[in-house]
Amino acid sequence: MAIAQGHVGHVSAPPATTVPAGLAGWLSTVDHKRIGIIYMLAAFVFFIIGGIEALLMRVQLGTPENTFLTPDFYNQLFTMHGTTMIFLAVMPMNVGLGNYVVPLMIGARDMAFPRLNAMSVWLFILGGLMLYFSFFAGGAPNVGWFAYAPLTQKPYSPTFGVDYWILGLLLTGVASIAGALNFIVTILNMRAPGLSLNRMPLFVWMQLIVGFILVFAFPALTVAQIELLFDRHFGTRFFVPSQGGDAVLWQHLFWFFGHPEVYILILPVMGIVSETLPTFSRKPIFGYAFVAFSGVAIGFLGFLVWAHHMFGVGLGPLANAFFAGASFLIAVPTGVKIFNWIATMYDGALSLTTSMLYSIGFIAMFIIGGLSGITLASPPVDLQQTDSYYVVAHLHYVLFGGSILGLFAGVFYWFPKVTGRMLDERLGKVQFWLMMISFNVTFFPMHIIGTDGMPRRIYTYESGMGWDLWNLVATVGAFLMAASVLLFLWNLMVSLRRGAPAGNDPWDAATLEWSVSSPPPPHNFDQIPVVHSRRPLWDHKYPEHAGDGHGASAPDPLVAGFEQPAIHLPSPTYHPLILGVGLTTLFFGILYSSIPPLSISLAVVGLALVAFAIVGWVRDSHKDSPYAAH
């Protein structure tokens, strides 16, 4: 197709849509908003599945010496629960929200690489499906989400479960790294005029930091997984101690990824509440720079603390002391954030919407998770608490009380923007209180049984250890949590059909995404705004309260002050999806390397699909031209 040279100075009407209707439109989409929705829906489905796995485990542990589950199935469940919640639920939920909101917040029309964005979402979903296929192919992985060597070697784990774990996660890993690069480039290059780093919404800041963490942390996991794959399939000995390999090497590689991963899960959520708290307090964030840079500090320190997961491994007192000191240090930027959030609310006009309640709940629970982590950072105490239920309590206060509650805050906050309808507030508040109570009923007792010596990852325990009552309480709590999630699901379905119309700006918020319609048009902004402060929409609405606190008030941001570029939207394409399917097929071929005919045919089909998709992908870019004008 010939390249259109038509230069358009001002855009009067958005381009005619060429998006196919129905399912085809979703499968071929390159729109960051649709991709964000796919991410979030898939993540929610995996969240439900991971939750069901947790309920099954809680039933098994509700009474001592229970025989509800076999030990091997229990081991599969806790492996899949951890893997699912981390890689397939919380991470993609963060990515999905980011995908939807970040371009709108920075005044961009899309992500920097829309087709790569589509590839990421499909690889994430296909990787998750591949992992779950293991249940029907001889058993799911049963070595824990941390997969310590040498239990993962063939003699100890002869089923294909570990291979599905490696290859499924490699697919999601490709998706994560591509997604992270996409976020970094988008945030650094596609901000609206005037939107300097110093004016960026804090949610965008946190997504940027997470992008960098991902790019540095994920390769360590990928390398470890490929080495393990080679050990299992091609006779290498990376992690076989009896033949010169090193089992501890796996732990270093895994936790060099694994600890930053915690911040990958929590920082975007810290970004969410840094948006919701000011909005629902009708105040700016207290200490913008401290909140932003404490995020940077957490991201940086996150790479210096991995061995606090390994205090019992015997690295020696000196190494342990170093990692303990670095881990303690993280309390400082984390504390700063918490104090700044409370100060943001202080003297504000709080409106306790469901989103706000979840934000406050996040802070309240995250404080507990942070404090219970102090003893785990202290090597001597850690030796009593690690691998006990105390850690299970701690990590759920951080990742559920922290990440998941914060994500609920974000979902209640942005649902109106995404759908044009409000979630029901009354149902939401009932659900919030049910969740807060049941969460604590479930996880607080685990501090006690851990201190009373109950190890993690055991499918059964004997009576008379003092663990029976609290385990039963935790099981009851888990089912109440499930009821709360069901209530949310009900709210979601009811509100999608009958929710009150949202309007552009239902919360009287400050950032650019609320300046456009709900849901926003495909091209996001009719006119790219010019930004003069950290709260462009706020300054537009309340000029008398405008500015960043430095005296001078800023000009109205929503009045265009420069020549608008033409709208440039990429065309829908199936090639990212085909590439994902091809790569997945190839990975199945690698997985069945022990059955050459099957392996080779899968690999050939997979590679052919990948080649076809790449050629098509390259040609796709020419189709974008009609609206292009650079």
Partner: protein, 365 residues
């Protein structure tokens, strides 16, 4: 307006304190509680935990209090109120950056002191090798055997009270973890790597212990006991163990110990493929050493109390009791049906039960 909302905050505070006190008190005498210590290593950890816990509780009350106060105080402003647009306060922010840093320094100093104390390895400590297997613990005493051979046992680790013990930790297959909550913090047993853990039992007792690192299918059923004896009693245990066991006393369960011994040593019955009994032809090293089995505290790595009846049950239904265990993979239900009669099993039980060490056992803690 503010004062009206304070009582609920205070009530919450009392509730938290009361709950914490109850929780701590409740744990103290439980079999595996880390707060009820009888060894110096675990005691020093507990002594470190207490001040950290109080500091954490103080921070918890201050920060959660500030949060709850702020929410209750400012939640009912008239709609449309425009609060003062405060963007920050650098002095205040620097202050609350330094405050946690100071607490961190205090916790670090306390931590490093305990670390130093708990990593001491006195030269005169008793040396014991502990080796983790899927799914049982082997204990070897290199200084107590005869003619350079180790004194070997399994599942019960005997130690003297009051003398430091340095346990050399190793693993035979996958990673395991050696944890005696009332005596010492846990330490990994890693194939290809040697770790050391030194502790002193301060009171005689039988202590619960487990593998704390996930190690495969029957990880939950990999336990052991540490039996701390007064030094004289411990010396007696060693002296008796240095002599090969002989059949003593009559048979239990109506079994014939002498016939049981014949069966045990019959290669076709497979016992000697994996097990050692000192002074006999049983020299298999894959499974636990069964010398003086009649004095074991538990069967199948700590999962049921030792009794002839439980031993009979174990020999008949091992797979159901401990799924995945190596012995049941070889001695399957069909193999047992074809090769061992009920009387054979009673005879084997009688033989194993007849080999006893005579020491006065301390109370279970």
């Amino acid at each position: 307006m503010g004062t009206r909302h304070r009582p609920p905050v205070r009530r919450l505070l009392y509730a938290v304190l009361a709950f914490g006190a109850l929780a701590l008190a409740g744990c103290s005498t439980l079999p595996a509680s880390t707060l009820d210590t009888y060894g110096d290593h675990a005691r020093r950890i507990h002594e470190l935990l207490v001040p950290i816990a109080w500091m954490a509780l103080a921070v918890f009350l201050v920060v959660e209090g500030a949060l709850i106060y702020t929410v209750l105080r400012y939640r009912r402003r008239a709609a449309g109120t425009m609060p003062r647009q405060v963007h920050g306060n650098t002095n205040v922010e620097i202050m609350w950056t330094i405050a946690p840093a100071l607490i961190v320094v205090v916790v670090s100093v306390l931590t490093f002191r305990t670390q130093a104390a708990n990593s001491q390895m006195p030269a005169d400590a008793l040396k014991i090798h502990a080796i983790g297997h899927q799914w049982w613990f082997e204990f070897r005493y290199p200084e107590q055997g005869i003619d350079g051979a180790d004194l070997v046992t399994a599942s019960d680790m005997y130690i003297p009270v009051g003398r430091p013990v340095t346990v050399q930790l190793e693993a035979a297959d996958v990673m395991h973890n050696f944890w005696v909550p009332k005596l010492a913090g846990k330490t990994y047993m890693i194939p290809g790597k040697t770790n050391y853990l030194t502790f002193t039992a301060e009171q005689p007792g039988i202590y619960r212990a487990v593998c704390a690192e996930f190690c495969g299918e029957a990880h939950a059923l990999m336990r052991f006991r540490v039996i701390a004896l007064e030094p004289a009693e411990y010396d007696s245990w060693v002296a008796q163990h240095r002599v090969a066991p002989v059949i003593g006393g009559g048979g239990v369960l109506g079994g014939d110990p002498n016939r049981g011994k014949e069966l045990f040593l019959n290669a076709r019955k497979l016992c000697i493929t994996c097990h050692v009994i000192e002074g006999t032809g049983a020299k298999g090293i894959i499974g636990p050493n069964l010398s003086y089995y009649g004095s074991r505290q538990t069967i199948a790595a700590g999962i049921m109390p030792y009794s002839p009846e439980n031993l009979e049950r174990w020999l008949k239904h091992g797979y159901e009791i401990k799924p995945g265990n190596l012995m049941s993979r070889v001695l399957t239900r069909d193999w047992i049906a074809a090769n061992l009669t009920d009387q054979d099993i009673k005879d084997l039980v009688a033989y194993l039960d007849s080999m006893k060490v005579n020491v006065a056992l301390p109370p279970a803690r």
